[in-house]
């Protein structure tokens, strides 16, 4: 099995925040913490695009590199996890992460930063799989139940795909070729526009919409 990955199809995401809600409900995440959120580019402008963002479980994760107490680890499935017993809540990972994935819950009346919390790809943490202790600290361990992350499985338009990187790449490739820009999906015309002196690029082959 290859590495576990998320892939968000911006053409399909309708900014319903179902993934955010599914994540919060599945893991009983407290107020102020969002392991996943939906980001919209050009909000309100025709042609706006949204994508769902969480920890991307990087192959060479910057959070792992900067953590002063080395609380991160990567599993065989390529999921980046951390040990909350080691975390000191310093926030270095928050600076290092390009996606803003690490979250810091309010742990006291005066807003002291708690231990870091982030998307676990629904894979729990170091505690015994599917135990109460694991659920309290890291949320549900769906991978140990043979399931994929709740956000991806709940996505109504299947914009958010999660799972084996090879498989979701195949699903996305099939989708892009099927939804129709014909031979113009990839290639010179799409990447660089029409060739000099050749006029406009060809129209979409079937059902595709130009944005």
């Amino acid at each position: 099995m290859a590495r576990m990955k998320f892939l968000c199809d911006a053409e399909r995401c309708i900014e319903c925040n179902g993934c955010v809600t599914a994540c919060k409900q599945e893991h009983e995440i407290p107020w102020g913490v969002n392991r996943r959120r939906v980001v919209t580019i050009n909000d309100g402008v025709p042609g706006e695009r949204s994508i769902s963002v969480a920890c991307m479980h990087c192959s060479d994760a910057p959070c792992m590199a900067v953590c002063p107490v080395d609380c991160f680890y990567k599993t065989e499935e390529g999921v980046v996890l951390h040990d909350k017993d080691l975390c000191i809540g310093c926030g270095y990972c928050f600076y290092a992460c390009p996606f803003g994935a690490p979250q810091f819950p309010q742990a006291g009346a005066f807003g002291v930063r708690g231990k870091m919390d982030k998307c676990t790809f629904c894979a729990g943490g170091p505690e015994k799989d599917t135990s109460d202790a694991e659920f309290k600290k890291y949320g549900r361990n769906r991978l140990a139940e043979g399931k994929l992350p709740a956000c991806a499985e709940m996505c109504s338009t299947k914009a958010l795909l999660g799972g084996d990187g090879d498989v979701i790449a195949d699903i996305y490739r099939e989708r892009v070729t099927t939804r129709g820009r014909g031979g113009d999906v990839w290639g010179w015309g799409t990447a660089y526009g029409p060739a000099p002196g050749k006029g406009q690029a060809p129209a979409p082959a079937q059902g595709g919409q130009k944005s």
Binding site: M1, D60, T75, E76, T130, A144, G146, E153, I168
Partner: protein, 73 residues
């Protein structure tokens, strides 16, 4: 003599610079129930799969394909 010292210093700087181009291995190291010193078990070691990796992979593969609506129609 000075020229030799400069050459040695330059060689040292060059070697140091090259060493910075190295890349840490990306291979996950799982030893005695721990990833890089942090204890964790594998998903197929849960009570549901009883250490049956094939069965777990089959379950994940089925779930993966369930995300492909072209296969579900």
């Amino acid at each position: 003599m000075t020229r030799q010292l400069v050459a040695v210093a330059l060689a040292g700087v060059f070697a140091l610079g090259l060493s910075a181009c190295g890349e840490r291995p990306q291979v996950v190291n799982y030893k005695q129930g721990a990833y890089q010193g942090k204890p964790d078990s594998k998903p197929w070691e849960s009570a549901q799969f009883n250490n049956n990796k094939d069965e777990w992979e089959r379950a994940i593969r089925t779930r993966n394909q369930a995300q492909n609506e072209y296969k579900r129609i």
